[in-house]
């Protein structure tokens, strides 16, 4: 064990060696929460985004109209509230609120997962709305014109394009969550920040411990950012494609590479 005269890196190395399993499991929990929370948040965002595209017309009957109005009001409130309050506060309110109001003591991990999911869902619902709106409405009209229902139009025409459009934002949300799950330490979720607090407390070595913590966070976010960028490139499909000449002028065939005519 280093003593009071030991240098910074000696302490860093010592704490890292001593608490490696804890750091590892903390990082694992962080990644797991970020990944599952982003995934479920995506599903929530998708569902909310789609519900908000359902047309609300008086002509379709009063009951349906009122129901839709109410659902929309609730969804709008959800999005506004969760986007306008910090996740750390949401964590406290949900965790202690569910205990006090309903007598449910959620396991820490489950509580953390629920909070990240709902919080991410609120952001992704807005992003999803944008993604849906960016799909040319003419395609929806064409789908209606061949008799597709709103649900079919969404499923087969709009969502595949909308999801493709929001993938970068989704990846970004994931990376943000790797960092932001750290606030869940306030409800004792043993993610990376929480275990770091424990590790630093024993020897009162806060700087050295959190130096290690920041390196781990950086490596995780940096690696994920790069990985997502590679995936995005892949998704863009083959970079080459052909614009065929018209039948009347087949010589007008262009080969495009990376967006520029050759």
């Amino acid at each position: 064990m280093p003593n009071a005269q030991s240098g910074f890196f000696e302490w860093v190395w010592f704490i890292f060696r001593t608490y490696a399993p804890m750091f590892l499991s903390g990082a694992g929990t962080t990644l797991l929460l970020a990944l599952s929370g982003t995934f479920v948040g995506f599903i929530i965002g998708l569902a909310v985004g789609v519900v908000r595209t359902i047309q609300c017309r008086r002509a379709d009957g009063l009951a349906r109209y009122l129901l839709l109005k109410i659902v929309r009001g609730i969804l709008a409130a959800y999005i506004e509230i969760f986007r306008s309050t910090p996740m750390i506060v949401q964590a406290m309110v949900i965790f202690y609120g569910s205990a006090q109001l309903f007598g449910i003591t959620l396991p820490y991990m489950l509580a953390g997962f629920i909070i990240v999911s709902i919080n991410t869902g609120a952001y992704l619902a807005e992003i999803m709305r944008g993604g849906i709106q960016s799909v040319d409405p003419g395609q929806q009209e064409a789908a209606s014109a061949i008799g597709m229902t709103h649900g079919q139009t969404m499923l087969y025409v709009v969502l595949p394009q909308a999801i493709r459009n929001i993938l970068p934002a989704l990846g970004n949300e994931f990376v943000v969550n790797i960092k932001d799950t750290s606030v869940l330490n306030v409800i004792s979720v043993s993610e990376l920040f929480f275990v770091s607090k424990t590790a630093s407390g024993t020897f009162y070595r806060y700087f050295e411990t959190f130096f290690i913590t920041s390196v781990i966070y950086f490596v995780m976010t940096f690696a994920c950012t790069r990985l997502l960028r590679v995936l995005e490139k892949r998704m863009d499909g083959p970079e080459n494609y052909t614009i065929h000449g018209s039948q009347t002028a087949p010589e007008g065939e262009l080969k495009l590479k990376g967006g520029s005519a050759q």
């Binding site: 009209e141 061949i146 597709m148 394009q161 494609y241 052909t242 614009i243 065929h244 007008g252």
Partner: protein, 248 residues
């Protein structure tokens, strides 16, 4: 005459307090090719869109097979599958290949099997000269090819009548011909067609009847020879002379 495929009775449509269609009446018989002409803002597109309920009429009715379109219990999905539409801006499904564009409606709406749907799609893609491009995405196609694909997509549903909404207006001039020639071919096979167009040549040579719209009403309706050479209404005459020059 037999029962019309579509009948429009006292149709009116208002956007807010702007009355765009006023008491429009007409019928479409099986096998007819009808051109709808008229100046910008006269309500041609709105009329066409009321026929498949993309616009909801404010008054009057559209009748299909004895049933009022949009009435309680009316099967709108079936109606729309029977009334095809080709749009000015193509509106192809960007996430699907050429073939898939023609298959999806058959499978999802008409509940046909995938193989049957593909075969049917291929038949129409061949007819419009797009069979060579079935694996391409719409963004890879030229404007003329896109519109021919849009026609095949509509035909693949085996509709009773095809509505064309200015099908050549968004095309570069050199591509107008290929689309018009497909439409002429379709007309000659006896397909029922309703064409909103500024192509007076097509209206005159191909259609059986020309409907001239002005300020939300059908101002004149006649076979093309009569309407183009001997228009009854002063406003028809004025419109045609603006469009075709003084020698019309």
């Amino acid at each position: 005459m037999s029962e019309p495929i579509l009948a429009v009775r006292h149709l009116s449509k208002a956007f807010g307090d702007h009355l765009v269609l006023r008491d429009v009446n007409f019928e479409v018989q099986k096998g007819e090719v009808i051109s709808i002409i008229g100046s910008s803002g006269s309500g041609k597109s709105t009329l066409l869109r009321c026929l498949n309920y993309l616009e909801i009429p404010s008054g009057g009715e559209v009748v299909s097979h004895g049933q009022v379109v949009g009435a309680p219990g009316f099967d709108l999905t079936k109606h729309r599958a029977r009334v095809g539409m080709v749009f000015q801006s193509f509106n192809l499904f960007a996430n699907m290949t050429v073939l898939e564009n023609c298959v999806v409606g058959q499978v999802r709406v008409l509940k046909r099997g995938r193989d049957e749907a593909k075969q049917n799609a291929m038949r129409y893609l061949e007819r419009v000269g797009m069979a060579a491009y079935i694996h391409d995405k719409p963004r890879q196609l030229s404007g003329g090819q896109k519109q021919r694909l849009a026609i095949a997509r509509a035909l693949a549903m085996d509709p009773e009548v095809l509505l064309f909404e200015e099908p050549t207006s968004a095309l570069d001039p050199e591509m107008v011909g290929e689309v018009l020639s497909v439409m002429r071919k379709l007309a000659s096979t006896g397909l029922t067609m309703l064409v909103v167009t500024h192509e007076m040549g097509f209206a005159r040579d191909v259609s059986h009847r020309v409907v001239f719209m002005d300020e939300g009403v059908i101002a004149e309706e006649a076979p093309p020879e009569a309407l183009f050479t001997n228009p009854k209404q002063p406003r028809t005459r004025e419109f045609l002379s603006r469009y075709l020059g003084s020698n019309a």
